[in-house]
Symmetry: C2
Subunit: 145 residues, 2 copies
Amino acid sequence: MKTETKIKICRPRAEIFEAFVDPVKIGNFWFSSSSNRWEEGKTITLRYDEYDAEGEIQILNVIENEKIVYEWGREEGEPHLVTITLHEEDPSTTVVEVTEDGFADNDSELIAKLVDNKEGWVYALTCLKGYLEFGVNRLRAALVK
Amino acid sequence: MKTETKIKICRPRAEIFEAFVDPVKIGNFWFSSSSNRWEEGKTITLRYDEYDAEGEIQILNVIENEKIVYEWGREEGEPHLVTITLHEEDPSTTVVEVTEDGFADNDSELIAKLVDNKEGWVYALTCLKGYLEFGVNRLRAALVK
C-alpha cells in the first residue's frame, strides 16, 4: 500500500526541485540537514536534529525540475519507494505530488504507519509552501508525537 | 477508532482559542467561513468555498481558552466527536491537541478515512501555526484531492 499527497505551490517547479535537492535549503522546511546534493546514484544522510534522528536514502532517479525517486528502509527490511513529481500548472504554479509505496498489507501496524506517513508528508509539504511562497522557515519541527 | 494530532504553536492559548471560535478568524487558516461564534449548544455551519462544500457541527462543550468539543456527521449515520484541547506549556506556548473519534472499525473505507482525516488535521493545524506565528493566512486551500 502507499500514501499519496498533493499540494499546490505558487512557485516555478525549478525552485521546488532545488528546495529538495540543495542541502542548504532542506532545513527551511523539512529535515535539519542533508549530507549532499541529491543526485542519481547517491546515498544521502538526512538528519532531524530536533528528534535526534538520522537516516539514509538512496537516490534512484532524478529528472531535473520534474521528478525525484528515492528509496529508504531496505536495511530495516521494509524498503519504501518515494516518488516526488513536480507538475507544472503554469510557469509560476506547481502541483507537488508525493507517493510513498512499500507498506506491507499484512503489517499489524499498517494503519498507524500509513497515518503517520501521511502526517509527515502533509506537514513537510505545507512547510515547503510556507517557505517558498512566504519566506517562513520556522514552521517545521513543531509536531508533537 | 480515532485520529490524534498535536502541534506546538508559540502563542498564548487564548489566541488559539479565538482563532477557532471567532468566525472572522477561521478563514485565515481553515474553513472559508463559520456562521456564528462557537458557543456551547450552538449549531454552526462551516463553508469551504474552494471545494463548494458546507457542513454543520454541533458544539457540545466549551471551556474558554482550554477545550472545545463538537460533533458532526450524525445525520449521515456516522457521528464523529472532535475534541480540541489547548495545553499551556508556558504563557506564550501552547500545544494544540486534536482528537477525532467515531471511525467504525468494520468500515471497508476505514484506512482511507483515517488517512484523509489525518491529512485534514495536520494541514489545518500547520496553517493555524502559520497564521498565528507568522501572519500568513494564505496557506490554506492548497491541498489537491
